[in-house]
Amino acid sequence: MLTHTQARPLIQERLGLAASGEGPLLVVEAPPDQWLALGRFAKAELGCGYLSFVSAVDWKEQGLEVVARVENLEAGFALMMKCKLGAGETRCVSLVPVWRGADWMERECYDMFGVRFEGHPDLRRILLPHDWEGHPLLKSYAVDTPHPPYR
């Protein structure tokens, strides 16, 4: 069974990405073109079958960052995958082909941040009504933005 100490050099060697973080938490930053490859690698080689969450962070001028956390339940380690999309960029590759649970989570990212996931089977708003304008969790969206008829 693969342990987290073995996983770190494996990621470096296969994908050329450094894994930071300590102990059973591995943090890997991947560029957008290697996002899906990292996902497939994590599921197939590292045994991370459990998808915890997929979310995004708005770093203002530096752009958006998509964060996903997957875990290997038997070995007891977690992999935090991060992908900086770049300033002004909102497209990212979808992880739905790898983990089915990414479906709703990526819809929520789209809804809240405006990240468009390529390869997602059904990208539409999930928490807000379908005719809502704007993406609330962006730092540029003020907390008291009016949206008639709601207050």
Partner: protein
Amino acid sequence: MDIEGRQVLEMGYAGAERLTMNMGPQHPSSHGVFRAILTLEGETVVAVDAVIGYLHRCHEKLSETLTYTQYPSIASKTDYVAAMTSELAYVRAAEMVGKIDVPKRAQYLRVIAAELQRVASHCLWLGTWCLDMGGALGGGATVFLYCIREREDVLDLFESLTGARLLYGFHQVGGTRYDIPAGWAQKCRATVDKIDGRINEFEAMLESNAFFMARTQGVGTVSRELAQEVGISGPLIRGSGVNYDIRRAEPYSSYEDFDFKVPVETAGDCFARYRVRMIEFRESIKIVRQALDGLPEGPISSRPGVKSVGQVRIPKGEAYARVEGARGEVGCYLIADGSAKPYRMKWRGASFSNLAVLPHIIPGHKVADVVAIMGSVDPVFGEVDR
């Protein structure tokens, strides 16, 4: 458009017409505001489109405007049925980033609160599940009233501890806000003993009932792979054969001091999830007894009492803290930037992922099973929509 994007199961039912039925936001069995657009062929469901978001309050944006001392009372409003565990996730995340220690007594108090909350939450689950299956005028209501009676005793305990029955504000960054009053430990033991006896009654009543068994066995089976890929957690994943309990996998708040069993069933159907939760009742009671026995003396918080809203400042950093809530893995991913308010806070709601499994398992079942499956998934929409 609502109709696109549903996973439709082709039944090969030649000549049949499909009926689209709305199990609407206002429905006695939807456990809150939830809309399921069912496509039916006769009585069989061939597709489900789950529409959520009716309770969306954007907690994540809200947390960016509230400080670390203000937010824990609001955190309880995500999973409002098991409020203690929701607050715990947030304060643990803040403590992980800020590397703040929590005194031993506070850790034990948190454990007692969390396990009592689990008992109360499972009481509500059992009552409402049987209510859905049995009808508001029928056997379901009988079980519901019995379970609510037990839950009220636990809520009385919480009321004497924090002053509130449902949404507490018990946790704060660095420890807990309240200490147990005099006589609370005896009352707690008495309540827990009474509930222990009553659970045996409920089990006997339900498991000797052939109708209950017929409604729950073989219904809503979730496979191990699907369970992990979708990210369901808690009693659902343990009912599908995966031995994953955060209290064992990554012990927090002194859980490693306690001796308890983690129930795992392999069948993956509603009955397996029911068995897991019934055993969890008893294990939680065991933990409460052990914690009360071993409760150490000491301060209940490593930080002084709250005097101003901005007094807690967490330095730059990020962490993901998770707790084993009554419904599964409740997590809080916090990015702090050195001020008194978080930069980004993401709630990983257990019920959000649990509910996401519905479009995968419901097609092929009858309409009546939709209700049984939803009850065994036990969603709380505060967590789903946040």
